[in-house]
Assembly symmetry: C2
């Protein structure tokens, strides 16, 4: 029997659950500088996109596109950044970040660019609710 999937502790600490898509858990990063989602495929031991089989790779692309559309629906967005880096946290996770020309890091990528800004709890809850609806989860 294969090892059960569980979320890496660092991703759990840095983000909140939005909901589950067929392949990936969707999470909102704790950084109010940008609407910033993570997609984490629920397969144990997966570090690279090419560790997924071809059907799951296609499903991941479908979920990336859905996350992009959801972020565009929640506010002005000048550019979407989509990235699987994983140099620090080896569990496969895809960042989808809605960027604005006046955001804290523009035009740099977000990683290491600006200290995270805290969400007001009510604002975060409201954003998660909107994203949950836009992603047509559950």
């Amino acid at each position: 029997m294969s090892e059960p999937w569980s979320l890496h502790s660092e991703l759990a600490h840095d983000s909140s659950l939005v909901g589950d898509l067929p392949l990936s858990q969707v999470r909102l990063m704790h950084d109010a500088n940008y609407p910033w989602l993570l997609l984490v495929p629920r397969h144990a031991g997966t570090a690279e996109i090419i560790d997924l089989d071809q059907a799951d790779q296609a499903q991941l692309m479908t979920e990336i596109a859905g996350a992009c559309r959801a972020l565009k629906a929640v506010g002005r967005c000048d550019k979407l950044n989509v990235a699987a880096i994983g140099n620090v946290v080896p569990q496969l996770h895809v960042h989808i970040v809605a960027r604005r020309r006046d955001d804290a890091a523009w035009p740099r990528p977000v990683w290491g660019a600006a200290p995270p800004a805290a969400y007001e709890p009510a604002a975060r809850t409201a954003l998660i609710a909107v994203l949950h609806r836009e992603l047509q989860i559950g």
Copy 2:
């Protein structure tokens, strides 16, 4: 009639042609710090993955996976970084970078992290030839 596709001048300047896959032009970035490919879908006016139709999104994922496998075939690679950023050059392009724990930027993402290192021309030509074969182009 739709506008013909042409490569953005900045991408042309910073990279060399490896070859054409069904959707994307494959290019090698001029930075010997890391084997670093670009996939540039040959569709005019495309800035975001979600500007591609669903069939082309799936094809892009297939080509990303092929580029990942090709990079793993050319040398030791501890992690693949895959990213569509595009904050500076708006033409859709996907970075695929083979990372090593002892490379110039590790564990940071590559963008802006270390000055590009020049390839020796013969080394670049040889790497392009190997990538061309691994990608099964032409």
